[in-house]
């Protein structure tokens, strides 16, 4: 497929690697590998900078099953981690083509060195990243950079849980939701109009050549699926390929650096984190439903916002546990005992829901015919509820450009379950390695060995226990749960999908980190990483907004360096 035929910098903006003259290397000042949230944000920030930018994308403009299979690999424990070709997309726009859109910045405490969280130390602080968050928010189409109720809303809103005041938890912070924005389709016109950016599709990077002294990268080899190869020459290279593929590319290029690029100290691929998430317990609140708000607020700029119950930093320090948030949630969908027509409708609609969402909605539970029948009965008992919900999902999600972010069920009584999302601690033994199997280019596929620690269980267990205690002490309600079940519930669906963090971590010590504070590999002068791979810790926050903010910061660094 060829979009623009003439190969000149001024005119061609999008080309297909298959159409490029193989005798001439493609050259640029900066070569960005990967066109997801990081790659596109970086390219946009470099637009009209005077620097020639090559943006390489392994896939095409749309999903291609053959290309997607290049992401497949193995998983050590398939109960704990989804297959590597799920929750990420090898195509223009990357995983933003399927993401959920939840945005929030990291908290100040996430950047701190916390003695009680092993290996927790960022070489930068929130202050370093804060100037880039508003623009990141804009690119994610998440509205204003305002993440508390006071800053986001001019008019008073009802409290999340009336009367709930806790020293351990706050309820005034927000998560904001992107459309969710498919960065590729949303910003393709910006890339086209920038005179210095060339996007090359179907450009699979199969080799990264290090110079003889190992201190710089001299070129890349790209290949189309049918084997047409090209040489890429640039002054600077940026890997914006996500947490898994970054580790794969660094580890598999071992011609000069025998352990792989940036891996002299065996750090690449280690400390692999996702988030710890799950649903637990039954929360009975002693307040009328009118005193509770568990749904979305819509900001003036039209963005869906949701409040959370967030563990305060002081409590994290006192308790020596990681970051944690929770939301009021509907009962477990799979259990027909909830007698809720809408939840049963969702259960029955499982075949029509994408894998990435269905997994957390339903798990992989195999239901009996009897269970299935009970769900049908629930739907039949509440046809108007089910029809109303179906209409809402069609109008506000399926056909809306700004989509209603998730399933919100208005309960008939003030009874909820607790949906939690917690920080996973860096763990040297949780890692991505190269497997035995190779792809069609001869590049080794990855093996994912995701592991959690007692510290992770501790974060969730103690946070939930504290919340239960606070609910009881404030007489707001009672959280019924089995403390013994916490570990099971937090791993019921395995690692939270799509958040691939820490595999090329940032730090000052080259023995324990891969990149420096500017995301440059410690020992390679012109190779950078723009990805959640560089996060040393995972926070409670979803990573996309911070990935974009870090990419914008990197773009500024590259511009300054070039100048």
């Amino acid at each position: 497929m060829s979009i623009d035929k003439n190969l000149t910098w001024q005119r061609i903006l999008i080309i297909d690697a298959g159409d490029v003259d193989v005798t001439q290397p493609l050259s640029a000042d900066i070569c960005i590998v990967g066109s997801g949230a990081a790659g596109i944000s970086l390219a946009l920030k470099l637009a009209d900078s005077g620097l020639a930018v090559l943006l390489l994308e392994a896939g095409g403009l749309k999903a291609e099953p053959e290309t997607q299979t290049l992401y497949s690999g193995s998983v050590t424990n398939t109960l704990l981690h989804s297959p590597p070709d799920t929750y990420r997309q090898r195509r223009f726009g990357g995983t933003t083509t399927i993401w959920g859109g939840r945005c929030m910045p990291f908290d100040e405490i996430d950047f701190e060195k916390r003695e009680y969280i092993p290996h927790s130390d960022w070489p930068i602080s929130l202050e370093d990243l804060e100037p880039y968050y508003p623009e990141a928010n804009r690119l994610c189409e998440a509205g204003e950079y305002a993440y508390t109720m006071d800053s986001a809303f001019n008019t008073p809103r009802p409290p999340m849980i009336e009367g709930f005041e806790s020293e351990n938890f706050s309820t005034h912070t927000l998560e904001r939701f992107s459309c969710p924005t498919d960065f590729g389709m949303r910003y393709i016109h910006k890339l086209r109009s920038a005179r210095n950016i060339q996007l090359v599709l179907h450009a699979n990077v199969i080799n990264i050549q290090a110079g003889a002294n190992g201190k710089n990268i001299t070129g890349l080899t790209i290949s189309t699926r049918d084997g047409k190869r090209h040489q890429i020459l640039a002054r600077t290279y940026v890997l914006a390929t996500g947490g898994l593929e970054t580790a794969r590319l660094l580890l598999s290029n071992n011609d000069v650096h025998k352990n792989g690029l940036g891996n002299d100290h065996d750090v690449v691929g280690r400390y692999y984190m996702c988030h710890i998430a799950g649903t637990i317990g039954t929360l009975h609140i002693n307040r009328p439903l009118t005193s509770l708000w568990h749904g979305y607020d819509i900001s003036d700029d039209g963005v869906y916002c949701r409040r959370r119950i967030a563990l305060r930093p002081g409590t994290q320090r006192n308790q020596q546990i990681g970051n944690f948030v929770a939301r009021l949630h509907h009962p477990r969908i799979t259990l027909p005992e909830h007698k809720n027509a809408i939840l049963s409708l969702l259960y029955l609609a499982k075949p029509f829901i994408p894998y990435e969402y269905a997994k957390r909605l339903h798990g992989d539970d195999r239901a009996s015919f009897g269970t299935w029948l009970k769900h049908v009965r629930n739907v039949c008992a509440g046809p108007f509820d089910a029809a109303g919900f179906a209409w809402h999902m069609l109008r506000d999600r399926k056909f809306a450009d700004r989509k209603f972010p998730s399933i919100i069920i208005k309960p008939k009584a003030p009874i909820f379950s607790l949906d939690f999302h917690a920080e996973q601690q860096p763990n040297i033994n949780s890692r991505i390695t190269l497997g035995e199997e190779k792809d069609i280019f001869g590049v080794a596929r990855i093996n994912v060995d995701w592991r959690y620690t007692h510290g992770d269980v501790d974060t969730v267990s103690r946070s939930i226990a504290l919340l239960a205690e606070d609910m009881k002490n404030t007489k707001i309600g009672r959280l019924e749960y089995n403390p013994e079940s916490v570990e099971y519930e937090m791993t019921r669906y395995g690692a939270y999908g799509g958040h691939h963090i820490g595999t090329a971590r940032m730090g000052t010590d080259r023995h324990t980190s891969v990149v420096n504070s500017h995301c440059r590999l410690h020992d390679i002068e012109n190779l950078y990483v723009a990805s959640s791979a560089v996060f040393p810790t995972s926070s409670q926050a979803n990573p996309t907004l911070t990935i974009v903010a870090l990419s914008l910061r990197l773009a500024e660094h590259l511009k300054n360096t070039a100048a």
Binding site: E141, Y187, S193, I298, G302, D401
Partner: protein, 311 residues
């Protein structure tokens, strides 16, 4: 003694504002003039006679492309008759830059690519090209009190939910000029000393159109602002624009006003919203010593005016 300023096109919103500003000044006496359309009171001869009696002419004719061209032509002929090197301030438009993108100063090539209005404005500028004492002003989109196209109409669309965050379709640069700034610039152009022959861009892009719509909607209280889908915009252009335009024209014809009619969201409007063009106005800033009104203040004044003049 006050200077007499002939204002051609005094009945449109820019003309009305200019008359107000001239009246409010201590140095000018405005002389309204309508030389185009059914209410015309001036032919070429009358216009030529009037030129003998005034110190400067402001041509701010708007309306149809034909009237824009005709008024400039008539003015040129009247000047030829009088051979009077009178100061002319001619209000053109940024549409003369066509579909150009990037940073645009007054030297940029003119293009009629954006339609008949652009052609008319280019033609009008060409009629006046040989006149030695003139300031041609190329304003951005005028907003503020009285501004129908970029304030009143936008407010109606925002309040009815037809306009909002347009996504990629609203990523274009929003080049705005507050109406009072336009009037100030015109009046200062009239008073520039000596013979002058300048062309000035007025206004600049400080935000995208999406940001303008969001900011305006917030001030109007038309919130939460809606995300308008591509599908919806296509429907507006393809199926609603033509019938609404017809309705607007016929209502205008029958009742003299079409303010109650929901105006059409046309493809040219959407083209403007996506055009990445940034007017450079440093020449006007320096030459006229302009202090531009910040957009948020301009919008607040506009919203206040809209509230007071709710129709």
């Amino acid at each position: 003694m006050k200077q007499k300023i002939l204002v051609i096109g005094s009945t449109n919103f820019v003309g009305k504002c200019l008359i107000e500003n001239l009246n409010a000044s201590d140095w000018a006496l405005p002389m309204p003039c309508t030389c185009i359309g059914k209410n015309r009171k001036f032919g070429i001869r009358e216009l030529a006679n009037a030129l003998y009696d005034v110190n400067a002419v402001i041509n701010c004719t708007m309306g149809t492309p034909a009237s824009i061209e005709a008024s400039a032509k008539m003015l040129t002929k009247a000047i030829e008759i009088t051979n009077h090197r009178i100061r002319i301030v001619h209000i053109s438009s940024m549409t003369v830059y066509g579909t150009a993108t990037g940073e645009i100063d007054e030297q940029h090539t003119l293009s009629d690519a954006s339609g008949r209005y652009a052609t008319a404005h280019i033609q009008a500028e060409q009629y006046l090209a040989d006149h030695p004492n003139k300031v041609i002003i190329r304003p951005a989109c005028e907003y503020g009190p009285y501004c129908t196209a970029w304030s009143e109409r936008i407010a109606r669309w925002l309040q009815s939910g037809r306009l909002g965050d347009l996504g990629a379709a609203g990523d274009g640069d929003c080049n705005l000029i507050f109406i009072e700034d336009l009037c100030t610039a015109v009046l200062k152009s009239v008073r520039l000393p000596d013979t002058i022959n300048e062309t000035l861009n007025l206004g600049a892009a400080t935000m995208t159109w999406n940001e303008y719509f969001v900011a305006f909607a917030k001030i109007l209280g038309a919130t939460p602002i809606r995300r308008i889908s591509k599908r919806r915009l296509m429907f507006e252009q393809k199926y609603l624009a033509a019938p609404l335009k017809l309705l607007e024209l016929s209502t205008q014809q029958m009742f003299g006003t079409s303010s109650k009619v929901p105006g059409p969201i046309t493809s040219s409007f959407l083209t403007t919203c996506s055009q990445e063009i940034r007017l450079l106005n440093s020449k006007a800033t320096t030459l006229l010593d302009m202090r531009w009104t910040p957009v948020h203040i301009g919008l607040e004044l506009t919203a206040k005016w809209l509230q007071e003049n709710a129709r």
